[in-house]
């Protein structure tokens, strides 16, 4: 894949509410070209796809269960399967698990409460387009969560495989506030091109509004494209 002037698609579903922040992170933080995509579209002419947080379809039935069948998703799935970088944040992560692009499921928070707070994360596991050069760095990232269903779960075999293959990419330091098994905050697929996490890096890209720890994911994507183009 290219790319000078890589194009990043941000998909808006009915009920998405973090797409504006994500668009800003792509243009201002990463300096990449933005393509705004409504979920009813089907054409996907981009170099990366981002699924924002929010409450698509009111979280009816299960978080992400209905958005997973939006018209654009057929091409998102094909794009992911061809190795294209895909990032799902919060509701986007839920959509990716419902679509079968990431293993496991995100259940109701252990204490049945909506959680809106900062969390401290470690970035580990394998490198991905969104965590280029970040795993293993001796530092943590303070990034907020805001969700009702972030309690990641998977069967024991799947968990062992995720750990063994370095697919646990984000982990809560000091325990998962939502009860997520093994303190998992985010994972990648086996190939490493599809990543999902519950915390909101797009809400921490500006020192004026809380901090800049979230910038790393977006600058990582920019540098991943720069290397791919070289």
């Amino acid at each position: 894949m290219a790319k000078q002037g890589a194009k990043v698609g941000v998909i808006t579903f009915p009920g998405s509410n973090c797409d504006a922040d994500l668009r800003r992170a792509i243009t201002e933080t990463a300096g990449l070209q933005l393509v705004e995509i409504w979920h009813k579209e089907t054409a996907l002419d981009v170099d990366a796809v981002l699924l924002p947080g929010g409450f698509s379809y009111g979280d009816y039935l299960r978080s992400g269960a209905i958005a997973r069948f939006s018209p654009i998703m057929e091409n998102v799935i094909a794009f992911a399967q061809s190795g294209g970088p895909v990032l799902g944040i919060c509701n986007g992560f839920q959509i990716l698990t419902e679509a079968g692009l990431l293993p496991g499921a995100l259940m109701r928070n252990r204490d049945l409460q909506f959680l809106c707070q900062d969390t401290v994360l470690r970035i580990e596991g394998r490198e991905t387009p969104f965590t280029r050069n970040l795993p293993g760095l001796d530092r943590t990232y303070t990034i907020p969560i805001a969700h009702m269903d972030g309690n990641f779960t998977a069967d024991a075999d799947t968990l062992d495989r995720l750990e063994g293959e370095g697919q646990v990419v984000f982990r809560y330091v000091g325990g998962a506030p939502n009860g997520a098994v093994r303190d998992i905050a985010g994972i990648s697929n086996a190939r490493g091109n599809v990543v999902g996490l519950m915390p909101h890096p797009e809400r921490r890209v500006d020192a004026e509004v809380g901090g800049t720890d979230g910038r790393a994911l977006f600058t990582s994507l920019a540098s991943w494209f720069a290397v791919a183009a070289a």
Binding site: L61, A65, I66, A105, M107, R108, N109, L112, T153, A154
Partner: protein
């Protein structure tokens, strides 16, 4: 028109915090015989009569959308 019911429940072994909360509530009311509560969903489908392979189609509905088989089981009630 006929009605078919689909029951979606968490798989055995999957923690059910809402069920635990209800269990605690019942105990608090003095129902000490309650040793466990699991919550689930009841989904009522209204279907055209006489559709062929009804059960197979409802099975597909469950697998594709109504249940997340990573964490949930389902049971179909009243289908041919």
């Amino acid at each position: 028109m006929k009605k078919v019911r689909v029951f979606v429940t968490l798989k055995a072994g999957v923690l059910d915090p809402a069920g635990k909360a209800v269990e605690g509530g019942l105990r608090h009311l003095g129902f000490d015989e309650v040793k466990g509560v699991r919550l689930g969903k009841l989904i009522e489908l209204e279907l055209d009569d006489g559709a062929g392979d009804e059960r197979a189609r409802i099975d597909q509905m469950c697998k594709k959308l109504l249940a997340n088989t990573v964490i949930e089981d389902y049971r179909i009630d009243g289908a041919q």
